[in-house]
C-alpha cells in the first residue's frame, strides 16, 4: 500500500498536524483493500451504508464504521487467515477464554518496526550499552501468543540484553508470579556496573517496589536505568495508584526519576506504539488518529470531553483494524504540552462499566470486567 508507506516514512513521528491529509488517504487505501479482500468487513461496511470512496477528508473519519474490540474476540475478521506462512498472529490477553487473534503480514510488521524505531528514538530508548532486564510480564512460551508478551520481549531490543529475568513464569499449566525472585534480581542488578531496565505491567512493578519499601530496602539502580511500563493494571484495577505515587516510590526505592519512566499504551487490535512524553502524556503519532465518541450516539466529541476512545490506523493490511472502539473512556487534549511535541494527547480515564458497579447477578462481575464475553 503506497500511501501507507508514505505515511510511515514520515521523518518526525509526531508531525501529526501536517500529515492528516496523507493519513486520510492511507486510511481510504487501507479501507478499500479490506473491503475488496475481506467479505466480512465488506458486509459490515455495506450494512452501515459506507463505502471506502466516502473517505476523502479528515471529517469523513467520523462516518467510518468502527468495530468494538469485543467483536474481534468473537469473530475471526482477519483479511489474511491466521497461520498463513510468513505471518505472525498475536492475541489479546483473553481473560475468560475469549481473545482477539490478529494476523500481521510482513509489510505490516515492517511498518510496525519502522514506527517502533522512530518512536523509540524520539523517546531516547535506544542505547548501545548492554543492560539487565527485569520483565514484569510473561516469560515467552510456545503456548503464549499474546501481544503483550511479544511487545515486552521486543522492547528489550532497544538496548542489548545482558540477561532477562521474568516475573511471570509458566509452570506447565499456567503462569505464576515470582515477585520474591524479582526482589532478589533487583538487589543483584543494583550492584552491577550496567544499567537495569524494567519492562512490563505497572501492577507487578508497583507490587515489587512496595515489597522493597516494606522490607526497608533501597536498591539504587545504576545510572542509565529505566522503567518501561505497558499492559495496564488489568485485574488489579482496584490497586491502581496515581502516577505521582508510582513515580515517588520508584525514586525512593530504586533511585529512578520519573523522566526515566516511560509508559506505553496500545492494544493488539490497535498495535500503534504510544509512548508517553517526558511530561507523561500520550501524544498521538502520525500513524494513528484518536477520536473521542459520545457514548450515547457515537458522534465525535472533539477535544476536552470524556467519551469512548476510538483508535484509527492504516497500519495493517492483514486485518481490518483501521477503526477500533476500545472499552476505555478518555479525553483528547489539544492544549500545548511542555514537552514540545505539537500533537494532541490522549488521557485514558479507565475501563467502561468497571468502577463502582456492584452486582450479585451471576456472571455480571466477569461481564463488567470484560472477562467473559456473552
Amino acid at each position: 500500500m503506497r500511501l501507507r508507506r508514505r505515511l510511515f516514512s514520515s521523518k518526525d513521528p509526531y508531525a501529526f498536524k501536517t500529515t492528516r491529509g496523507i493519513f486520510v488517504d492511507a486510511m481510504a487505501e487501507n479501507c478499500a483493500c479490506h473491503y475488496v479482500k475481506n467479505a466480512k468487513y465488506k458486509k459490515i461496511l455495506d450494512n452501515y451504508g459506507f463505502s471506502p470512496s466516502d473517505l476523502k477528508l479528515p471529517e469523513d473519519l467520523e462516518n467510518l464504521p468502527f468495530i468494538p474490540t469485543a467483536v474481534f474476540k468473537r469473530h475471526d475478521l482477519n483479511t489474511i487467515t491466521p497461520g498463513t506462512p510468513f505471518t505472525l498472529t498475536a492475541t489479546s490477553s483473553g481473560t475468560g477464554g475469549k481473545m482477539s487473534r490478529i494476523t500481521f503480514d510482513i509489510p505490516t510488521l515492517w511498518n510496525a518496526l519502522v514506527m517502533a524505531i522512530k518512536v523509540g528514538k524520539h523517546r531516547k530508548l535506544f542505547s548501545l550499552k548492554p543492560c539487565n532486564y527485569i520483565i514484569f510480564g510473561y516469560k515467552p512460551h510456545k503456548s503464549n501468543k499474546t501481544a503483550v508478551t511479544k511487545t515486552a520481549l521486543a522492547t528489550t531490543w532497544y538496548a542489548p540484553a545482558l540477561r532477562r529475568v521474568f516475573a511471570l513464569k509458566f509452570n506447565g499449566t499456567s503462569y505464576e508470579p515470582d515477585l520474591d525472585g524479582m526482589v532478589k534480581a533487583i538487589e543483584k542488578f543494583s550492584h552491577s556496573k550496567f544499567p537495569t531496565r524494567f519492562m512490563g505491567f505497572p501492577s507487578y512493578t508497583y507490587f515489587v517496589m512496595k515489597m522493597l519499601d516494606e522490607k526497608g530496602m533501597v536498591c539504587k539502580l545504576p545510572a542509565g536505568s529505566k522503567i518501561l511500563l505497558g499492559g495496564g493494571w488489568k485485574q488489579f484495577y482496584k490497586e491502581k495508584v496515581e502516577k505521582d505515587t508510582f513515580y515517588a516510590l520508584a525514586e525512593k526505592v530504586l533511585g529512578v526519576k520519573d523522566t526515566d519512566i516511560v509508559e506505553f499504551f496500545g492494544a493488539v487490535e490497535h498495535p500503534v506504539l504510544y509512548a508517553d512524553c517526558v511530561k507523561h502524556r500520550f501524544h498521538i503519532p502520525v500513524y494513528s488518529q484518536v477520536m473521542i465518541r459520545d457514548p450515547k450516539d457515537f458522534s465525535d466529541m472533539g477535544y476536552g470531553r470524556t467519551g469512548l476512545i476510538n483508535l484509527m490506523t492504516p497500519l495493517a493490511g492483514s486485518s481490518p483494524i483501521l477503526s477500533v472502539m476500545t472499552d476505555d473512556l478518555g479525553i483528547l487534549h489539544d492544549t500545548p504540552c511542555e514537552c514540545g511535541i505539537d500533537s494532541p494527547w490522549l488521557e485514558v480515564i479507565g475501563r467502561v462499566g468497571l468502577k463502582d458497579i456492584k452486582t450479585c447477578a451471576a456472571g455480571a462481575e466477569e461481564l463488567l470486567k470484560g472477562g467473559k464475553d456473552k
Partner: protein, 429 residues
Amino acid sequence: MILSNGIIYESDKQDEILSGLEEKIYETLKGPSLTPDIVISALDRLASRIDNGEFDDIIATLDLPGVDDMKARIIAMLRKDSLQYRLSVELGDSYSPSSSFVTDPPHGMEKITVRRVPLGTIFHIAAGNVDALPAYSVAEGLITGNINILKLPSADNGLTVKIMETLIEEEPLIKGYVHIFDTPSTDVHAMLKMASMSDAVSVWGGEAAVTAIRQMAPSGIKLIEWGHKLSFCYISGDYKKHEKALRELAQHIMITNGLLCSSCQTVYIDTDDMSDISGFCSYFLPILEEAASSHATNDIGGIAESSLRRRTEEINSILTGKPAAIYGNGCSLIPCEDSELVLSDLWGNIPVKRLPRSRILPVLREKKHFLQTAGLIADDPDVISDILIRSGVTRIMTPGKMSESFLGEGHDGTYSFERYTRVVDSNIG
C-alpha cells in the same frame, strides 16, 4: 483497621491478634451466652439511633437510589418486633439456646432430648456489592448466638466497623462475639487461620470467590454459600391482558439494570413459535422505553457499556445472520432462537426467548445452581408455579416485586438463622 473484643487496632496488628484469637474465643465460650433477646434489643436501639440521624453522614456517601426509602426499610427490619417475627418464622416460636424438647417417636422408639444451639464460630467472607452486607451477615450470626470473625471486602468504607462499634456500645457483651479484619483476599494464610478457628464459613460473592473458598476451606468445615444468582420472567397466555404487570416488569428491568441476583435477566414466552417472540418484542418495547425514559442512567460508564454492547450485537447479527436486537431509546429486546437462561446485557437490554411449559424443567435445570427469582405473568399462574418450583427456583413473584424483600422470606431457598445453628441430641438426663 481491625475491631476485636471491642478495641480498634491498626491493620499491621493482624498476625498478633490472630495468634491470640483462639484463646479469646474459648474465654467467650466459657462466659455468658449471647441470647437472641439480648442482640435483638441492641439492634432495636441501633435502629433508633439510625432513625435519629446518627448515621446520616455515612448513608449520604453511599450514593444509593431511593436511599431515604431504604433507610426506612432498614430501620423497620431492625425493630424488635420485626426480628422476633423473623426468628419465630425461621426457628419456631420457642427458640432459645437454653430450651429443648423431648422427642416422642412412634412404635415405642427411644426418646431423646433435642436442643438447637449456635454453630459456634462463623467466619464471614463478605462481598462488597451491597454496602451494609458485612454488618448484616454478622448481625445474623449474633442473633443466633455465634462468635463472628469477619473479613471485610476490599471496598469497605468504614460503615461495618461503625455499625458494630455502635452495637457494642449498646450491648457490651457483644464485644467478645465480633472480630473484624480488613485482610486482603491475597492473604490466604490469614484467611486459613480464621477458617481453622471457625465451625463454619459463610461466603458471599460470585462464582470465582465461592470456588476459591471451597478449595481453600479446611476439610469438614461447614460451608454456607450465598453466591450470585440468575432470575427471569416467565410469561404465558395472553400477555396483553396483563398490561399492569408488563409495566411493572419494565420498571423492574430499568430500576435494577440487571445488577441484582433477583433482576430479570431473560424474558421467557410460553411458545415454540419465533413469530410470537417478535410479536411480544414489538408489543413490549414501547412499554420498556417508557420505563427507560424515567430511569435513564447518567453514569457515563453505564451508558458507554450499554452502547458498546449494542454495537457489538449489531455487528454480531450482521456477521451471523441471527435476528438483530430491537432497539428502543435506552433499552433493547433481543429475540433469541435458543432457550438458555442467560445473563442479560444489563442496563435494559433483555433477551427474549421461547420456552414452552413442557420444556421448563430441562431448560432451567441446566442452571439449577444459580436459579433464584421467577417473575410470573400467566393466565394459569398456579400451574406454572408448580413447574417452576420443581425446576429449582426459590422465589416466584409478580414482576414488580421480583427485587422486593419480605420479612419472613428465605434467602436463596433457605433460612439463615437455621443455617447458623445446629441441633444437639442427647439421651442423658
